[in-house]
């Protein structure tokens, strides 16, 4: 494979079945390092299932997922952040029983080195690790513009800010690949525009490759380096925004015959 070094994520023949229903049917997708890839498609096309398979929340019955050239198809879900995958959720999964900062610190879980015994006894290692994680987490909060809200209970944030908090929490994992499941859902036009700028900064300043599911076509067309179109569990087209807009198969999938 001559293009292997550039491909951060390479999915081939991925099949996920729920009972008799094929949510994904031999889907193929390649995501280039340092790009923003949008995954679009009608409802029920298998977009979220694709993200769930990449993050290990559903088990594929066939196919392969390669990240950084390493196969992660069968890796337990909780080990995938270590492999470099982070995600946000379509329905917000904010920990409302913690402060904003603690949410982001939870994202840094795998990067904190001290043991449970260190924390029970408040050893210097605990204090050092905690201070380090704290400053990193504050950095991530400042990055999404929530530094002021650090000590608020996370549940008190307005909806749009909770979406940003999920983003900061995912960034705290220091991922190679960030998967966003409808990040603009429920946002107004202004918030969506700011989100677009933020995702670009994530790619350019943080060097994180982004793959997102999104229904807001203005955002998708404006932001994406590559678009993949899913229909009935298969990737029916990939290409640049202008290529996708001209693709007759895509037009059919969206508008019908």
């Amino acid at each position: 494979m001559p293009d292997a070094p550039e491909a951060l994520l390479a999915i081939s023949g991925l099949t996920v079945a729920f009972g008799g229903v094929l949510a994904l049917c031999e889907a193929d997708l390649t995501v280039a390092r340092g790009s923003v890839t949008a995954i679009i498609g009608p409802n029920g096309a298998g977009k979220t299932t694709l993200i769930n398979a990449i993050t290990g929340m559903v088990a594929p019955s066939a196919g392969k997922i390669l990240l950084n050239g390493r196969e992660i198809t069968r890796l337990p879900a909780w080990k995938r952040p270590r492999a470099g995958v982070a995600r946000t959720f379509q329905n917000l999964e904010i920990c409302s029983n913690m402060t904003v900062l603690e949410n982001v610190l939870t994202g840094a879980h795998r990067l904190i080195g001290y043991s449970a015994l260190d924390s029970l006894l408040r050893t210097p290692r605990f204090l050092r690790g905690e201070a380090q994680a704290r400053s990193m987490a504050l950095g991530d909060l400042a990055f999404v513009g929530l530094a002021e809200a650090a000590d608020l209970p996370a549940g008190q944030l307005p909806y749009g800010s909770q979406r940003l908090l999920e983003l900061a929490r995912a960034l705290a994992l220091k991922p190679d690949l960030l998967l966003l499941d409808e990040p603009a859902a429920g946002m107004n036009i202004r918030e969506t525009r700011l989100l677009g700028a933020l995702i670009r900064r994530i790619r350019d300043e943080r060097g994180v490759t982004v793959a997102l599911i999104e229904h807001d076509m203005d955002l998708v067309m404006d932001l994406s380096d590559q678009i993949a179109v899913l229909n009935f569990g298969a990737v029916i087209a990939t290409g640049t925004p202008s290529e996708i807009q001209k693709n007759p198969q895509v037009v059919t999938a969206y508008l019908g015959e």
């Binding site: 080990k79 952040p81 920990c95 994202g107 879980h109 904190i112 449970a116 924390s119 605990f126």
Partner: protein, 323 residues
Amino acid sequence: MRRALPGALSPVLFFAAAMAAPFVLSNQYYVSVMTLCAINALIVLGLNLLLGFAGQISLGHAAFFGIGAYASAILTTTYAWPIWAGMLAGVCLAAAVAWLIGVPALKLHGHYLAMATLGFGVIVQIALNETTWLTGGPSGFVGVPRLTLFGYTFASDRSYYFLCAGTLALAVALSRNLIASRTGRALRAIHTSEGAATAMGVHTSRYKLFVFILSAVYAAVAGVLYAHYLGFVAPASFGFHFSVQLITMVVLGGMASIWGAVAGAAFLTSLPEFLRALENIDILVYGLVLVLCMIYLPGGLAGGAAKLAKILSNRIAGHAGRA
């Protein structure tokens, strides 16, 4: 940092207050009630880590309390083990049982986990009742020696109270440290969303098992203290009724609050003692107090205290503003 200081000092203040209490309430009877409060608070503290912080229910926690109590009682009495060894064995046995039960049971969620732990609690109580040759059966197990550690016998009620309150203060400090750490955040994340926790790299089943065993250890430590305090254990103290009472203490004190756990246990342990004065209607008043607490203090005693503190500080700030 100014605001963090009282927080860090609060276990020390609590310890000081708890140590001073028997000098103020020097009556023997009060001291024994406070000892039972401290023992119950220890169990509730552990159960709150499991239920309030990690969101996993256990309706069989009295069983771990009982396993600790009975194991230490039998080993030190029937088999004449040294007391420290019996206590250690009691705690280790409870931890081992928690591991055995936790591995399959914690795969369950919500009502199913409640049913599984309830079943476990019932089984343990039946076992304590039926193995008469070992446990003395329903009439209980008598003659448990008073606690002696490093050659010192905790003979007086006051000395035993100091031991229990000291253990509780230590447990409070350790719990606070745990909650404000990577482990504590992982547990709280599991409470709201196991999916999100997993996506952040938290090995959820391992953490759930860890906190389940930890809460069993808290209960077993309370159990061994209980057995060597009363000198007598009976299966009725470790049944379903007590498990439910423990849950009530967690909820009434305030879910996910360390101080709430202590307050809830102290309140519900001492309330019946104070209500004795009412003789025949004490159980009615007990019920009424619970109902009123649930209606007016949905966040438990801890939530109510926080609300009160906020109102007071606002009022003081208002006065200062006008002056």
